[in-house]
């Protein structure tokens, strides 16, 4: 079994399942911070999936895409945290 098969038939399905579980938490909540954490996890998992796909398809440029996704995910989380804290803050 080649690395591409391993990624396409084992790694990506496992990560997709994790993403589905994170989506369930995103839909369920119950609080807004729960949803933000779920969104953060979805971003991180997306990064992992892109990195794995880069190997399966031999496309090293996709690593740059993963970096950009990590940056956006971090900025989104920080912005949400600031917004949450300001809503109750002084």
């Amino acid at each position: 079994m080649s690395l591409a098969d391993l990624i396409l038939f084992a790694v990506l399905p496992a990560m997709s399942l994790a993403m589905v579980l994170a989506f369930v938490r995103l839909a369920r909540g119950p609080t807004l911070p729960d949803r933000v954490v779920a969104l953060d996890l979805i971003g991180t998992l997306g990064m992992g999936m892109i990195a794995a796909y880069a190997m399966a398809r031999d496309l090293p440029v996709l690593v740059d895409v993963a970096i950009v996704l990590a940056l956006l995910s971090f900025l989104g989380t920080v912005a949400f945290a600031r917004y949450l804290e300001r809503r109750v803050g002084p």
């Binding site: 729960d34 933000v36 190997m55 945290a81």
Partner: protein, 202 residues
Amino acid sequence: MREVVSGILVLIGAAFALIAGVGILRMPDLYTRMSATTKVATLGVGSTLLAVAVYFGELGVATRALAAIAFVFLTAPVAAHMIGRASYFVGVPMCPETAMDELRGHYDLRTHELESVCFPELERQLPGLQVGRLRIPDGAAVAGRTLAETELRQQYGVTVLAVCRGTFSIPNPDGDVRLLPGDELILIGPPERLDDAAEALK
């Protein structure tokens, strides 16, 4: 050889991702969920990116992959801390099994500042009680009154252990000790009554 190593690394990454997914769904409250997702997801992505670095084996790709790992390792804890802090202020509940909330009473809920003063040894000896340190602000209504007039013991059930004033402190103060702005009171009592007393002394 390279394929085998990166195959193992990417499998580790997939296992961590799956654990994170189960963790965020099954853990009982936000704080434990965050502990499951941030640590596990970071390690999972780190392992996957390491696999990328090993698999391509070129300087340019490996450098970018390692830079991405460094970025994730730096930002994930920061983001998690900010979310956790904000949730604590918003009042996201902890699961009922939580045995101890060490931050309780140590945060100023208006300025969001943490007072690092605490008396863990004393509080271990006195379960259910908390020792608090309270500064009388300038222009507070209680400034200039005596301790007896503040009725801390009668109204709030908290005891004043000492009054700290500048460099000296008055231990076991009498009721006729007059409070000045800038004084610090060391109080002992049940945590929720300490909060009430702190509100009254503002």
